[in-house]
Symmetry: C2
Subunit: 352 residues, 2 copies
């Protein structure tokens, strides 16, 4: 017996699958909460959608994704963000329409996305504070640390991304998620989970991803530009740093490397191109602590620390006046890079 | 209004979600096909599960995953593979039980997984050919190029991984997927799609991933050891190669680097630690062709070519007696590394 076609489904089966997934996602949110959200949106004709400052693709993807579904419903939508959209976010349809100043128009509703404090919307908030004082605000976010800032607020830490929460809210209302919206929402989910890797990824996160892929969004079109494409100068810089400065101590449980200003110059790079290097080093077999020492000038060195469990990066950073999280922390030290290496590595060795 | 708990679901809701996802996956396979598969398995008491030679986590995860669900059903299962399990596959529960020679026992059924030709099971097949000549074989695979080799064969190219097909077959039979099985099957899906990135990833692929995460499998426990953890020597080797040999031509659309034997020695590395470097280079902004030149000895150079669409890697490799796929190909050239660089780069420049 040989069945060439295997289990390939007919289009009708695929439509049925898609509809069934939508029903599960629609049921995954409290209907009363969803009603509160839609009541506000229904009442509004003109809507300002806000992404927080220094936007990530979840903030912008959530704002743009909502705009893509609300505009065809007759809502006049403006997406705003205090900072410009990074160049490598071109996978977000509509990214070119994001404004950094508010137009002179009335808004019936502000939807504040992916942050629970108005201050996190940066200059957009501080510049237009009197507008926000009287605005009706709907606040949708997933950060457990958020305090909330809306007349209606949903902070859902069970969602790996604000885009996951929005997917539930849209499907609960039985709103068709068009292709542009699906691309924006999938971008939020993929980038907030590093392609479903981080432990915030639940069965429901992947289910939402599944549904959005079924709407036509393509993961590779997000992952490649966001995680893989890099400048030639960045590859050169990493090569120089690893070849000339990679060191280890404590039997390989501490590794570090130095980003010197002349390395950056020689590579034709910019200083921010060491981004990701500390994480790359902590994933070396057997490493407990990794540190990148970045020479800022002759008397200032920035450090980025990463740890594997159970080691505490924040404690080391705090010893040098910095801070951060348990697995990722940093500090700026008032000394040259040689002195910083000596002091920080000695401190980590003492902690082991 | 502030709802701290957001949409967090009760356990009952989560169980309902899990069951509903199982039902969609169960319906996604032709029930007649599934019946043919289960008829063979039902009739067997002792089962040999085969992973193809040079196994990837989908081959081994499929074989081990099936064993994890069939053993509690009273089946005596042996998982075999011609080659040893790579050390970094420890995320596959049961990996230590895989044998590379057949035990002296009778098997009622052979389940050949993730390859459709018996020759692809390597030395296991050639050494025991007379056994296979008379065995009842169930062949489950997803490679479109497979010819099939079983009394019952399902080759399902709609599945991104053999593990996706198995998930459907198990749920169609309403078999509970236990934690060990879920870990094995999720490993197959994640590694065959590079964490849901490759274009084989469909709505159904993510749905299967969702279900397996709901069974308790954790993506990070697969992704970290498989994709991120590396030897210190590998980081050293990449640094040396990038710092000392990275070059570009044709306005940056061709980039290449050389892995010389003395680089490998200096890094304390092994030659295979350049694995992934060609892909790393093709993801540099604006690159059409990347090439890694690996010095094998004074008169032999191996090349690995990667391309971005629409450029043809296989055509370049073929010009030097090699072959491969449209985006990834290779060849072995009977010349020293300098001559190989000159010839190959000239050939690529001529093709642009």
């Amino acid at each position: 017996m040989r069945r060439e076609e295997g289990t390939s489904e007919s289009e009708a089966d695929e439509r049925e699958q898609h509809t069934a997934i939508a029903a599960i996602l629609a049921a995954a949110i409290d209907s009363e909460q969803a009603r509160d959200v839609w009541r506000l949106i229904d009442q509004a004709k003109s809507i300002l959608l806000l992404a927080h400052e220094r936007p990530d693709p979840d903030a912008l993807g959530s704002a743009l994704g909502l705009a893509h579904v609300l505009s065809p419903l007759g809502k006049e939508c403006v997406v705003a963000c205090a900072d410009p959209v990074p160049a490598n976010y071109a996978f977000l349809p509509g990214h070119e329409s994001v404004v950094s100043r508010l137009p002179h128009q009335h808004f019936d509703l502000v939807i504040a996305l992916d942050a629970g404090e108005l201050g996190r919307y940066g200059a957009l908030y501080t510049r237009y504070q009197s507008f926000f004082d009287t605005a009706t605000i709907l606040n949708l976010d997933h950060h457990v640390t958020s305090s909330g800032c809306g007349q209606v607020t949903i902070i859902d830490p069970a969602s790996a991304a604000t885009a996951e929460l929005l997917t539930l809210l849209l499907l609960n209302r039985e709103i068709a998620i068009n292709l542009d919206a699906a691309k924006c929402l999938l971008a939020g989910i993929i980038t907030d989970t590093r392609s479903f890797e981080y432990d915030a990824t639940t069965e429901r996160t992947l289910l939402a991803g599944s549904y959005l892929v079924g709407c036509g969004a393509i993961p590779e079109e997000i992952i490649k530009p966001y995680y893989r494409v890099k400048a030639l100068a960045k590859a050169r810089l990493w090569g120089i740093v690893l070849d000339r400065s990679l060191q280890s101590a404590a039997g390989g449980s501490i590794v570090w490397a130095c980003v010197r200003r002349d390395y950056v110059r020689e590579a034709g790079a910019t200083a921010d191109m060491d981004d990701g290097l500390a994480s790359y080093l902590v994933d070396i077999d057997g490493v407990a602590f990794s540190v990148i020492f970045e020479e800022q000038d002759a008397t200032t060195t920035k450090i980025s620390i990463r740890t594997s469990a159970p080691h505490d990066a924040a404690a080391i950073a705090a010893a040098f006046g910095g801070g951060g999280h348990l697995r990722a922390a940093g500090a700026v030290l008032p000394m040259d890079i040689e002195a910083a290496v000596d002091r920080v590595i000695a401190r980590i060795e003492a902690s082991l």
